[in-house]
Symmetry: C2
Subunit: 399 residues, 2 copies
């Protein structure tokens, strides 16, 4: 079995226990044309894509049934994760109703969620189709959100999963280290991005953790694009703070790290006081947040610790959450270290759990210089957390 297949097998082993824990009898993935609209849960418990309407049925007692278009039966059998594979030609309805009637679940979790994008892979059209197929059965009214199932399954990283994220972090930090020696004022943001991509190639060309348009993202100086934008032709000047947001994907698992550099002006041999202080406040904020991480605490408490470290020292509040989970995706969904803002829904209230991996990424503006920010990744342990990334504790200076 390849590494992806092994990881699917490992996640499938977790499923029955999680279903029993949340009191769900059946978890049903219902999807089609996954190349076009992809339910993220497919990566966890199926390990391949589908074309025609397909149902993956997982029960609290460990049964697994796949119902797929007949031409995809061979593919499912090759992967071997579903002991029972049903193939259909005309339509899926009869087989789906028959399998559900046999299992007769009282509670059926399906992939929709207002709060968690990773639990929201069922499209509205497919939801309507499912309701129609189940119309005259008792099962249509037994559907509920799978968000607790998915949050637990994605969130609780196995030892193998954490090792892969750590490896992705190590490669990313190595790339940052190599980059530092090649930086100089006069380069543009795009040229810095190209240097990073050189180092990516030099290290064997790992996949990027998110879309190449913004990976790496490079921001230099005051009034840069700020975040979530691609590198521009803006030129790095002496006196600029530059930050980079970058991650790679190793064996299906992502890093997502940010680092900060200062470009010395003629005559300077260290950063000006306000730049040094800004960077130190970021480091303090990250340390305080990491020290506050404990299983059982809601994520918003960690956000408040990091955020107040910034605001109490007189800086403006950053317009985003402090940290998100990371895993197969750079933004791995469910709970985060997030403020209680509308756009985050209920996710800031979710409790921290052992095995989850979170970023910590506060940010502040140093007037006339740029934006100071670091992003680190921690894994939650029984009594706190450990860093999976080697944290940046001193500002990188470029002469």
């Amino acid at each position: 079995m390849n590494p992806a297949g092994l990881m699917v097998a490992e996640k499938l082993d977790q499923v029955p226990g999680i279903l029993r824990e949340v009191g769900v009898d059946v978890w049903l993935l219902f999807t089609r044309e996954s190349h076009a609209v992809h339910d993220p849960s497919l990566d966890l418990v199926v390990g391949t894509g589908v074309t025609w309407q397909s149902a993956f049925i997982l029960t609290a007692s460990g049964d697994r049934v796949a119902i797929v278009g007949s031409l995809e039966m061979a593919l499912m059998k090759t992967h071997g994760h579903y002991p029972e594979v049903v193939g259909y030609v005309g339509g899926i309805s009869d087989d789906l109703r028959r399998v559900l009637a046999r299992l007769d679940p009282k509670r059926i979790a399906i992939d929709f969620s207002e709060s968690d994008p990773m639990s929201d892979g069922l499209t509205h059209g497919m939801y309507l189709t499912l309701r129609r197929i189940l119309g005259e059965t008792p099962y249509g009214d037994r559907l509920e959100s799978s968000e607790r199932v998915v949050a637990a399954l994605r969130g609780r990283k196995s030892v193998t999963e954490r090792a892969r994220i750590r490896k992705a972090c190590e490669i990313t930090v190595e790339i940052f280290d190599r980059l530092t020696s090649r930086l100089r004022a006069g380069l543009t943001e795009k040229q810095v991005a190209a240097l990073i991509m050189d180092e990516v190639q030099a290290l064997g060309g790992p996949e990027l953790a998110w879309t190449a348009e913004c990976c790496p993202a490079v921001f230099t100086g005051p009034e840069s694009a700020g975040a979530h934008a691609g590198p521009t032709d803006r030129v790095i000047e002496p006196g600029h703070i530059m930050n980079v947001d970058f991650g790679v994907k190793v064996e299906g698992y992502c890093s997502d790290l940010q680092r900060t550099w200062y470009f010395l002006r003629p005559g300077e041999d260290r950063a000006p006081e306000e730049v040094a202080r800004g960077f130190d406040v970021i480091v303090q904020s990250i340390r305080a947040a990491a020290a506050a991480v404990k299983p059982g605490r809601p994520g918003w408490e960690i956000d408040r610790v990091a955020r107040s470290t910034i605001t109490e020292r007189g800086y403006a509040e950053y317009p985003h959450g402090t940290g998100h989970q990371v895993g197969r995706a750079a933004h791995d969904g469910a709970g985060g270290f997030l403020p209680l803002w509308e756009r985050y829904g209920n996710t800031p209230n979710l409790p921290i759990e052992v095995g989850q991996c979170y970023t910590i990424e506060p940010r502040l503006t140093v007037e006339r210089h740029g934006i100071a920010t670091c992003e680190e990744i921690v894994a939650v342990t029984r009594d706190g957390c450990e860093f999976l990334s080697r944290p940046q504790d001193t500002l990188y200076l470029v002469r």
Copy 2:
């Protein structure tokens, strides 16, 4: 503007006319974390991804408004497709209600569809959120499926789009031609796939049109996996029919072609009668289907022409549709040359339109030898269709 940006601009120009044609006032894309669950319409009218809840509002009079998380305003402005970009920090609700109230649409199309996966990019969770946000406004009850909008916009390929599909077809046929001279009995399906990937690299390494697991797909001999499966260690033997399903993506547009080879047995200098006949019936079926294509006809009529050519000559019916649209995705959604089976919903009834590009891919089994199939691509013209792929008209023989 880069080629992707140009294509978005071209598609955006089509939108107001299509909205007026179907009587819709506003087309609303409502999405988030598009790296995780991706509304395919983003590729047509946005051209980049988003992180936080985002709304893209397009009107029949040509207005375009983007409402995005504040940190993604710069990205949207860089792309330049939305003259009005609104950024929010806390939540999207107020801005979304305000913009809709100003435009006051009577009919609002959103991306859900039971029939068409490409029009079904709105998740059920995001649908619930949208209904909640619009709860006390008149707009919640004015929502309808965008399937007619998306089908027209994706389906009606511009001259540029058709040229890109043709180019992808040319590269694919070139790869097939180069492959033929390297084939011999004794190779495994996986080795044939590796030869194809060699040729892909030799031609500059274009992106694959679908997941590498099944692209190329290689099937040799009787009782092969059939379709939609990856290559295996099965060895090609003299007397086998082998077929390959493969496509590349060029400047964002796909090919999706199949070809058939016969491996001569010792003493043979042509294929046995039953193999030659099977292949000829495939060619006849494709020609008959192409000759039947006319704007205005429903797709199922073309399916019937291709299918009956096969069954009337005594072969079993193939368990899939005759053809799908191709474009940015290998399976580009909406109408197809499809039978009136449950799993295809209403899509076989949709009328053929000028500019659409369809595959034609009948299949039949030659007992004891394997599966004969070709897949070609045609573009619909004013009075018929033209081939974008150079059709295979003779069986490839391998000595």
